[in-house]
Amino acid sequence: MADFVMPALGADMSVGTLMQWLKQPGETVKKGDIVAVVHTDKADVEIEVFTSGVLEELLVEPGTEVPIGTVLARIRENGAPAVAAPPPGPAPGEPQPHLLISPSARHLSEELGIDPSSIAGSGPGGRIQRKDVEAAAAAREAAAPPHPAEPALAAPAEPAPPAPATPPSPAAAPPPPSAAEERNVAMRRAIAAAMSRSKREIPHFYLGQTIDMSAAIAWLSQENLHRPVTERLLHGVLFLKAVALALREVPELNAVWQGDELVTREDVNVGVAISLRRGGLVAPAIHRTDELSLDELMHAFRDLVSRARSWSLRSSEMTDPTITVTSLGERGVESVFGVIFPPQVAIVGFGMLVERPWISEGQLLPCPVVSASLSADHRVTDGHRASAFLAAIDRLLQEPDQL
């Protein structure tokens, strides 16, 4: 029998709230299946299982907050004998113990102020999906009374009585925070905890390098000319792939710090810092970034950004990053000095692509360049190795067709 436990989904996550079960006792699950949704300070996260078998027993009720490591359910592994019949489901007529609703749909229903229990789900098993919430919102809009018409020109038959004088209210209480505001506060708190821990525990050092991007941009422009709009690549994908390949050359940066030692990781899972609308930040992983083609990587990147912004990330994406890449050039920032996201040991930053005078083979030319930076943990590496890593990124970006 395998235990399915509350995972640690972030550096400073100590507890999580089980929001809902997506599988019931007796159902077959296989490795990678999403079986539950957990609420943390940063997001609602879909939790995958890492064991194939039969879901034998659910041990935690939806709505319960438990510490990480708490056994949430038991899974009878494939081939293992059954130890007990699955507990019966609710009898007909009994209320369902919880709603089946995707994190994205839950988030949207909170934003729109729609009670999810009033929505009919169209997903598997009646699961409420984002489109169901959107449909409910559209129906509510259609059913709403029309906006008041222009005031009638004719005077009312009788003058309206004067409004009763109301005494001035003593310091009216501020309105309660909305669900979205509460989420933002919780996320800020989680980021504060992780970043404070990072600065407290990790001896950061910082390196920067200006990279000639003329070859990469020329290649990308040509490449995108021939692609349909849905298949276009962003230059950020070149950065992600170059970082992933450079990690093969400096593997000590593809690692986590556990206890008192460095644990290097076999898989290169680059975490991508994604800003959320109305504030906040998450940095989920693109698994095996180094093995993906640029097309696959672009697809994964688009999907990840979309799901991060609709609160539909998966647990492995939150737990598996082995390094983080942050790009802050969108609004004109030229250089980034990142704070490492523990337990990782490095973060790579890219600034804005800018055109600068550049001397190449004795000639002064205008050249698109980007400032790349590395913040690294001095406990696990030093300036020499770190500079080799940045040099590798530079070299790889000079041959974009090889990425």
């Binding site: 709009v229 962003l234 609308r277 688009r302």
Partner: protein, 82 residues
């Protein structure tokens, strides 16, 4: 398609990308990026959305100079008329 219909289609593509965008308060002559805090991924999704809505494929080189709602609508109208 009339210009108004094109504008409606462009706004649909925009609100898919930035759901908080309010077509009523959006200023058509001010850069979208400044009003809506959109990034390059949002921009790409906006271009894809316009393609899906009206079938116009905006080349990357042209996109760089289309900064405001008016500019986008004018460009799409021009391409559809051609």
């Amino acid at each position: 398609m009339s210009r108004d219909e094109i504008k409606e289609a462009v706004l649909r593509a925009l609100t898919d990308v930035a759901p908080e965008a309010d077509p009523v308060t959006l200023r058509p002559d001010v850069e979208l990026r400044d009003q809506l805090d959109i990034d390059s991924m949002d921009s790409l999704n906006f271009v894809i959305g316009i393609h899906e809505q009206v079938g116009v494929d905006i080349p990357e080189a042209e996109w760089a100079r289309l900064q405001t709602l008016d500019q986008v609508v004018d460009y799409v109208a021009e391409r559809m008329a051609a």
